[in-house]
Symmetry: none
Subunit: 187 residues, 4 copies
């Protein structure tokens, strides 16, 4: 599914500028920032925004898409590390903590995802992250550290519901409690 024809260099540059600006503005001001504001921040005219993203929803979805990609890559990286011998359960804990913290920092992105009703992951990202996550889970279960009934979906649920608008300490407590429900308590 590559673009029908390669975008011209300056068009690529514009697309990047727009996404950068959108990410920044949405994170700072929430998903209700006017398109004009994003356009100005990007240093282009609104018309250009609409050339790249036919509707605001498309733009917001694209911003979320970036986030999803990062998330997917983080999961894949954790799976790599475990394949390289690292402890599975602690890799999972660290991964989840990182993701939750990132979502908190980028809280507007989450709000945007809800507001727009966009799917959190693209099909491609969905399958890549599911593969990696499953590898992590199975490793931790082989180690006897993770409850046997826990699935990748359970972790997605955890990520989806992590509180973003609370103090870090509260978020840490939340994570501790939730993860306690995943582990066997062994070790």
């Amino acid at each position: 599914m590559e673009p029908s024809r390669p975008l011209r260099a300056d068009a690529v540059r514009n697309r990047t500028k727009i996404l950068d600006a959108a990410r920044e503005q949405i994170t700072r001001l929430g998903p209700d920032v006017p398109m004009d504001t994003i356009a100005e921040a990007a240093g282009v005219a609104v018309g250009t925004l609409y050339r790249h993203f036919p509707t605001k929803t498309d733009l917001v979805t694209a911003v979320i898409g970036e986030h999803s990609e990062l998330l997917t890559e983080a999961i894949e990286a954790a799976a790599e590390r475990v394949a390289g011998g690292a402890g599975a359960m602690s890799a999972i804990s660290a991964l989840v903590r990182d993701i939750v913290e990132a979502a908190a920092a980028d809280r507007a992105v989450k709000a945007a995802a809800q507001n727009v009703g966009a799917e959190y992951l693209t099909p491609d990202q969905e399958s890549r992250s599911r593969v990696a996550m499953t590898r992590l889970i199975e490793a931790a279960q082989r180690d006897g550290r993770l409850r046997d009934d826990v699935t990748a979906d359970d972790f997605y649920l955890l990520i989806l519901t992590a509180p973003t608008d609370v103090e870090p300490a509260v978020r840490a407590r939340w994570l501790q409690l939730f993860l306690a429900g995943f582990t066997t308590g062994k070790d």
Copy 2:
């Protein structure tokens, strides 16, 4: 903060109709429903909305107020039942399940509250529910069913983060996982 004076009968009726409509519309159409829409649903003119609730924030706050009152009363009722001899841990589980289901129905109300910066619990409700919750927790801990380090705040966190936009089965799974982190696993 005097009780003003008792509202006229028809005004009370309207106030109720407005709150009912607001809850319904916000739940159905999300936190951004126009005041006009709520007015129409309530069968009154916008002016009447504004007579009862000078700003949209006030209206949303009132809707939240009802909801959080119900929540507070549910916690108190559960505490009563336990005082009457019911099993503490199962009372807590049932309570939390009920609350989470109710919160899911009112998902948009929560969003509206956040959009509008309304506080969820009034100071009075806060203290009433804290007292009742603490009684429940202590009873369950005496029974050895609840981890000793769990506090009322932990339950608020659970309630606050319950996923709303998912199917009931998913929500049930989420609750099971989260509660697993609270319990000792005994029995």
Copy 3:
């Protein structure tokens, strides 16, 4: 043109309270004060305002009417004084200065008069003040102090155009210049 039947005592009291409040509010906040605000200041309900004054215009007109009455009485008093032997031209100067200062203090009343398009004087007031003004003018002309072509209308014009929103010193200068056009310069 007396009221068809004497108003009940409390109705009279209310009418007075309303006019007092209206004068005060209009003077302070301009003719755009909401009727509700006037009602509250008067300590009555809006409905009562509307019973006494069918439209807002009527109320504003009534407030102006009071002013006109005072104005008429001031002219009559000056004429009395001159009849009693006082200097006519200086009586006129003092009269005009007083009226202009009063209008400045009550600047909103003037604004109201313009906004509402109400006649400044009622027919009765018109004729009473015209008689008195004419007497003053003729006396000053007999003294050779006032230009022979000056009429009562000229003075009304002066009163109507006096600047209200400027500092007292500026207003005094304005009056001096304008009156210089009226006098013969003699004495």
Copy 4:
């Protein structure tokens, strides 16, 4: 305060249409004309009004600005004519008569300006008109036709207080009386 960049041709056209319509509508319907009405009269959508003038105050200020520019230019032109040998006092009379007539046509604009707190003359216009007016005054005083104590501020006062809501004949009389206070009576 850079000149931004030259507006596009059609934007300039619209700006003009909007200012024309605003002047016309405010003059005709008073200072409270809705923005929608002005937009319709201008043949544009409201949004276009707001693109050119972010608030109603800005629009009224711009209308005033045009008017006060014309006024300033009229004074400068009169000063030119006098420098070219024309009679100073009659130039002043004619100037004042013209200005007052123009102000009468724009009565509502003045009201709108006050409603909205807009300044009448910009600092630049203020100084330009003061220079020209002073030249006129000094010439008339050299001719012995104007009282020596009369200043530019006195003329502003005259212009400021000219009656607008009266018939032309009445206004002419008013002007005659007022100017009589300015002149020496010589010639």
